[in-house]
């Protein structure tokens, strides 16, 4: 796997970054936004080319750094994960949902049928029993952490990882250092 340093050394340009959230609450993205004024300094060094935070609709062909939040719970999550792996040189698994499956994976101890029954029969009063199938991605049998479906380069546990932790790890990457996530965050942090 190529490192970020090689890419920055060869061409002194801004690092391109793509982000997305799969089965997550967007809290990890919010934690990233909590970098506050440090975002301005970061904006000098990185270019967010694809993300829920910007307008681009299409993942570019080649991205330096991909950041995925959320577990892999449905067909669309799986596609996104594969797409990011294909197009990003370095892939970060951000937050406990992506890293462990976390809360979304709590459904794994129940059969999928029971999950549907709970959501669309037992817990609804309006039109019980109507399970949406059109325009919604099908659920996978098991919710998986990101690294169970594609290789991941860096893991940032935490629910959400604190802004400081995200910052330290990004700063290390930008400086060409190998980040040490356990020094700044942990499961459930």
């Amino acid at each position: 796997m190529s490192t970020l340093q090689q890419s920055t050394d060869a061409t002194p340009r801004k690092l391109t970054v793509a982000t997305a959230w799969l089965d997550g609450c967007s809290g990890c993205h919010m934690s990233f936004l909590d970098l506050d004024e440090r975002l301005l300094a970061l904006a000098e060094l990185i270019d967010v080319v694809y993300s829920p935070l910007v307008d681009a609709k299409q993942l570019p062909e080649q991205v330096d750094l991909g950041i995925l939040e959320g577990a892999v719970s449905n067909e669309n999550d799986l596609q996104q994960a594969r797409l990011f792996r294909q197009h990003c040189k370095v892939l970060i698994s951000l937050g406990d949902c992506a890293v462990t499956g976390n809360v979304p994976a709590m459904r794994n101890t129940f059969p999928l049928k029971a999950v549907f029954e709970r959501a669309y029969y037992e817990n609804v009063t309006q039109r019980p029993g109507v399970i949406p199938t059109i325009e919604v991605p099908a659920l996978l049998t098991y919710v998986q952490p990101l690294h169970a479906v594609v290789p991941v380069d860096i893991f940032i546990p935490g629910c959400p990882p604190r802004a400081d932790a995200i910052y330290t790890i990004l700063a290390d990457l930008l400086a060409g250092k190998t980040p040490d996530p356990n020094a700044v965050t942990r499961f459930g942090a």
Partner: protein
């Protein structure tokens, strides 16, 4: 538990991670390491309780020996050369911690012990950023029948601290272990609901020594379960034969 000191214990010299140290010959490797602030991860070992030797996190290497030794259950000896932090040991420790996370269901973010859990802390200090083995996703029971305490088997790592403290310190022997392999589970009385136990005195010692969020006080919410084990060394000392 420190072995009862006989009047004529000898002192031995040994080497741990390059440091020359002396120790009483009735001490274990882990005791000597703790005294000298040499970190050794452990889960089943708890000062004040008898030995269990089940978690294998405390494994160390010994010069001239191919096999590894559990620091909690190996006595020191003259001339021992011990290594506590080799790449092989670090790899094994990470694997053990990962297997514990994969075996049951740990969701630290919503756990009452978040921030006060020995397993969670060990993952961080042993360098576990993710679990490389597949999660088992087996459902385990939660027994909330006791009016003060709750057992959540999803978080239990089978260290048997609860079993030992209840038997050896409280003298109630409410806890025990049933089943083998992945069916292994701690039980109260003869696998009856804890709240119906005729032996439990509701002393809470098991809850305080439990390293994880498996045994907790009722009414605690995420991250609120802080444990207090100060009673243990005091009571353990009083229970030693004089």
């Amino acid at each position: 538990m420190p072995v009862a000191t006989s009047p004529a214990v000898r002192v031995v010299t040994l080497n741990i991670d390059g440091q020359d140290l002396s120790a009483r010959e009735d001490e274990t490797i882990i005791e000597v390491c703790r005294e000298h602030r040499i970190p050794i991860p452990s889960l089943c070992h708890l000062d004040g309780l008898t030995l269990w030797g089940g978690c294998r996190l405390c494994l160390v290497e010994m010069a001239g020996q191919e096999r590894l030794f559990a620091a909690c259950s190996t006595r020191v000896a003259e001339g021992m050369h011990i290594l506590t932090n080799t790449e092989r040991l670090r790899r094994y420790r990470r694997t053990i911690v990962e297997l514990l996370f994969a075996e049951r269901n740990h969701v630290c973010a919503v756990c009452v012990s978040n921030g006060h859990c020995e397993l969670q802390a060990l993952a961080q200090t042993c360098g576990v950023t993710h679990v490389t083995v597949p999660y088992r996703h087996q459902r385990y029971d939660v027994d909330s029948s006791h009016e003060m305490f709750r057992v959540d088997h999803n978080r239990c790592i089978l260290c048997t601290r609860c079993v030992r403290v209840c038997d050896q310190i409280e003298g109630a022997h409410t806890w025990d272990v049933k089943g083998r392999g992945s069916d292994c589970q701690v039980i109260t009385d003869l696998a009856q609901p804890w709240g119906e136990s005729s032996t439990c005195t509701s002393c809470g010692k098991c809850v305080q020594v439990c390293p994880t969020g498996a045994l907790v006080e009722q009414g605690t919410s995420v991250g609120e379960m802080v444990k207090d084990r100060r009673f243990l060394p005091i009571l353990a000392r009083r229970r030693q034969p004089r």
